[in-house]
Symmetry: C2
Subunit: 247 residues, 2 copies
């Protein structure tokens, strides 16, 4: 398992490097983290609202999402996760999990005990700062999503989500030529943008006929990146990727 893990955690380290250089010592400490690596089917919850986890998960392959439900059963997706993300890093400091996290595609997930993460943070304050930074970037993305959901029209909302996913996947080496894997369903886009499935479908068709996206067979391509960015009102500043200036 060890050899598997060292190669498997590559997306994790690449994600951290998008925000700050990782030194060789830090890298080897990261590679030495005890990590239980597991394959998980699509549409499985990793953790649920109300849990009090004793470990964090790292998405090593596949896609996921964080979501919350209203009392009457409506779902809001608050984040999409791509390889390298630590979707519940917050649980290291906050006992109570205020949201649920699940897979959207067949995935490989690594679980790291809280105590191991606390130890590496204690020994390498620089790494602790990088972890903090990733949660701050997550928060920045939340703010942008609030703007998206609260103040943009449906058409622009959907375009914005596609822009963000292209840039984030590009940053971890999973997009080329404005093209990437895109396994989320229209139901998931609907719950992420705060609109209905039917309407998402119509907006996607509008984006298609405007020549801004090609979306089929689980692949997304943006033949007119400038046009898609304009449609989404997308400015990547909120992703805080000075280092990995996206395509």
């Amino acid at each position: 398992m060890t050899s598997l893990s060292i190669s498997a955690i590559r997306p994790f380290i690449r994600k951290l490097e998008a925000f700050r250089t990782i030194s060789d010592e830090e890298r080897s400490d990261l590679e030495a983290l005890p990590m239980q690596i597991t394959e998980i089917r699509a549409d499985q919850d990793l953790v649920r609202e109300g849990d009090r986890p004793s470990r964090c998960c790292v998405l090593l392959r596949g896609f996921g999402h964080t979501y919350k439900m209203t009392e009457d059963g409506k779902r809001q997706i608050t984040a999409f996760h791509v390889p390298g993300d630590m979707p519940d890093l917050q649980s290291l400091e906050l006992q109570y999990l205020d949201c649920s996290i699940g897979t959207c595609s067949p995935s490989v997930v690594g679980f790291i005990p809280h105590e191991a993460l606390r130890e590496i943070c204690r020994l390498r304050p620089q790494l602790a700062a990088v972890f903090w930074r990733t949660t701050l970037v997550d928060a920045s993305i939340f703010r942008e999503w609030m703007l998206n959901i609260g103040r943009r029209e449906a058409y622009n909302r959907v375009a914005h989500v596609f822009c963000e996913l292209l840039v984030r996947l590009n940053a971890v080496g999973l997009a080329r030529n404005h093209s990437c894997e895109m396994p989320f369903t229209q139901i998931e886009f609907a719950d992420a943008t705060g609109i209905s499935t039917v309407h998402v479908n119509r907006m996607i068709q509008d984006l298609r006929s405007a020549g801004l996206i090609v979306l089929r067979g689980g692949m997304l391509t943006a033949p007119d990146w400038a046009g898609l960015k304009a449609a989404g009102g997308f400015d990547p500043g909120y992703l805080h990727m000075e280092r990995a200036l996206a395509a």
Copy 2:
């Protein structure tokens, strides 16, 4: 100014204590932080999107908000701030400010140089963890707001915002008997909930005639707290205030 600052930063320390006990040594280190304390009028920006601040601000008295604008000038408020909050603590780790922060009422704000905060974090890792924690709680609130904006009806959205403000103000000793100061305008509630000013006004009137709120003269009272919570679908878990279990 020193004596002023020691009493003035009380709300700041009280806020941190809502999340974790602050030891005497930590408290005196906090009190020793170099802080430039300034009175600021209502509706002034403290920082603007695109800034690269070299200090953080602490709201010591008054109310504020964080907001973003779409390209076509629509505003989304992503957070309300109450005394004790550090609305741009993120700038300690993220160079680029992705949002603007301003006052909503006449306020007293303390400015702390980044270097001083970095120093106290280095010397007192426990305090660094508390700071991290406050940003994680902010992120949790963002997630709840996304749920609010994306998936609740206007009536429930407005009720939810009132619930949250009552609980947060209670936690810093600024609410009694489900009653607190409430200087935000209906325009601000509109931009926070993603609906129009006119509709906010109608929802407030509905909440009034349902006997759930009394809102006038800058004061909010919830005569039927259980009813208001139900209307907002409000569950305070996301505020992570195990310690200061709110009224």
